[in-house]
């Protein structure tokens, strides 16, 4: 098993192998995200029972929670890819890290926007300087810093290594966001779903889980598409890309 995983990991380091296997996975991922997201969102936004205290405004969680989760996991993915870049100098990890940054930043932005749309009717204000909101804003700034650094360095490889250092340093913010609602007593409520128990109605819970899974598939699709473009761009001088582009 371990040997198999090790071989797969080394194979994935080859841009050609990644391009082939991601091309085969892509239709399945698209189908999965459509199957999860369309019913999940339609049911969540239109038909799920309204919440006891918040009425219909709670429905924004079907977008807000997945976006927040993906923004953080995306940063985590970028930092892990950064470690791979620095330790094993793997070209594929450079490309993945570069592709994740703008996508993760847009999910962080969606999370902040939907949160403030929900905050207006519920808290009576668009924005509070609460620990979790502030640290999410910092996460967005960190993404922007990583993107700015990546854009400023011309050589693709040294840009990737420099952003790898920055994203690893910035990863200290992730536990702060995750635990901010537990460490500081803030306006933002603590997590309602835990591994063992859940504080929300099963009907809402399954809809929410479907949305989370669907958005994760969508995120994977976006990252893969963006990485495939990056592969073609970087490998444009290699034979297999020339053949592929010539065939089209």
């Amino acid at each position: 098993m371990f040997e198999y995983l090790k071989r797969l990991y080394h194979k994935l380091g080859s841009p050609k192998y990644f391009y082939d296997i991601s091309g085969r996975m892509l239709p399945w991922l698209v189908a999965l995200s459509v199957l999860l997201l369309i019913p999940g969102l339609i049911y969540g936004l239109g038909f799920a029972p309204p919440e006891k205290y918040q009425g219909n405004s709670y429905r924004v969680i079907y977008i807000h929670v997945p976006a927040a989760s993906i923004a953080m996991s995306g940063y985590m993915l970028m930092a892990v890819a950064g470690v791979v870049v620095l330790v094993w100098r793997m070209k594929m990890a450079e490309m993945v890290a570069k592709s994740v940054a703008p996508i993760g930043a847009s999910f962080a932005f969606i999370c902040l926007v939907t949160g403030s749309i929900w905050g207006k009717p519920t808290w009576g204000t668009w924005w509070v300087w609460d620990a979790r909101l502030t640290s999410m804003l910092i996460l967005l700034f960190l993404y922007l810093g990583v993107m700015a650094l990546n854009a400023a360095i011309e050589n693709a490889q040294s840009a990737a290594r420099a952003t790898a250092v920055l994203s690893i340093v910035g990863a200290v913010n992730l536990p702060i966001i995750k635990y901010s609602v537990e460490w500081w007593n803030t306006l933002h409520q603590p997590a309602s779903i835990k591994m063992t128990s859940s504080a929300i109605d099963p009907e809402m819970l399954f809809t929410l889980l479907a949305c989370i899974a669907g958005f994760y598939c969508l995120f994977a699709v976006m990252v893969i598409l963006s990485t495939r473009c990056e592969v073609l761009l970087r490998e444009q001088r290699s034979n297999w890309v020339k053949k592929l582009v010539g065939a089209c």
Binding site: F141, L142, G145, L166, V169, N173
Partner: protein, 241 residues
């Protein structure tokens, strides 16, 4: 007679220790700073002037100034660190001494650590020394002035370490200045929150030890890990030329 220029590789016992390497680079940086004092004095002037702008811009009412005082002092300290850090590696990068540091037998993070400490001594210590005067001018009481001093003493080394990472990542670029700000400012925010938090708590005569303890924790964390990040970033910047 052997040619004195073609040196033999050093034997293990002849290699200077890490400590002496760090001290040597610290002494060199301090000497350079004392010979061109403008690098040392300008951040201080900047700090004083930014703080002087606030009463002029917001109005001289003591109650307002008392309220915004901690934040003003901390933000001014943060910006002056950010301004001064651009010169931290720039000169060494331009004249090639950074490449020599890379080739030296000491690990790079030790030398980078020495440089950052020298930079902190030169730019932050004067700033901490005038901070009490400025806090009195912003109508803080005596206890609050002391807490301002403690929080700056614990917080400014963290700021220096963080901005050194940014400076090391951008030293090879022509348009480094704004980029350092974009990179380093988000990482400053936790330090800023706890620094102003401590001073505000003291101003309201609440316990402030917790915030200072958090700052001390950040300091330990930064002193332990930041030198490695700075070293790695310098290596990337120098070798990618």
């Amino acid at each position: 007679m052997a040619d004195p220029i073609v040196s033999q590789p050093l034997r293990a016992e002849e290699v200077p220790s890490m400590w002496s390497g760090m001290m040597a680079i610290m002494k060199r940086d301090l000497k350079i700073a004392f010979r061109q004092r403008s690098d040392m004095v300008n951040p201080l002037f900047f700090f004083v002037m930014v703080i002087a702008l606030f009463p002029l811009g917001i109005g001289p009412e003591p109650s307002t100034l008392q309220k915004i005082g901690p934040g003003v002092i901390w933000i001014a300290a943060l910006l002056s660190t950010l301004l001064s850090v651009d010169s931290l590696f720039r000169q060494d990068f331009d004249d090639g001494s950074l490449e020599l540091a890379l080739l030296s037998p000491q690990p790079l993070f030790v030398l980078a650590f020495g440089k950052v400490i020298a930079h902190w001594l030169v730019t932050a210590i004067p700033l901490i020394m005038v901070a009490p005067i400025l806090s009195v001018m912003l109508y803080m009481d005596r206890d609050t002035v002391w807490v301002t001093l403690y929080s700056l003493l614990l917080g400014t080394p963290v700021l220096s370490m963080i901005s050194a990472i940014g400076a090391a990542l951008t030293v090879g670029l022509r348009k480094g200045g704004v980029l350092v700000a974009v990179i380093a400012l988000p990482l400053y925010i936790p330090v800023l929150i706890f620094g102003t938090g401590a001073v505000e708590a003291a101003a309201m005569t609440l316990p402030y030890a917790g915030q200072l303890a958090y700052l001390a924790a950040f300091l330990v964390l930064a002193l332990t890990f930041a030198p490695f990040a700075i070293g790695a970033a310098l290596r990337i910047s120098v070798t990618s030329q």
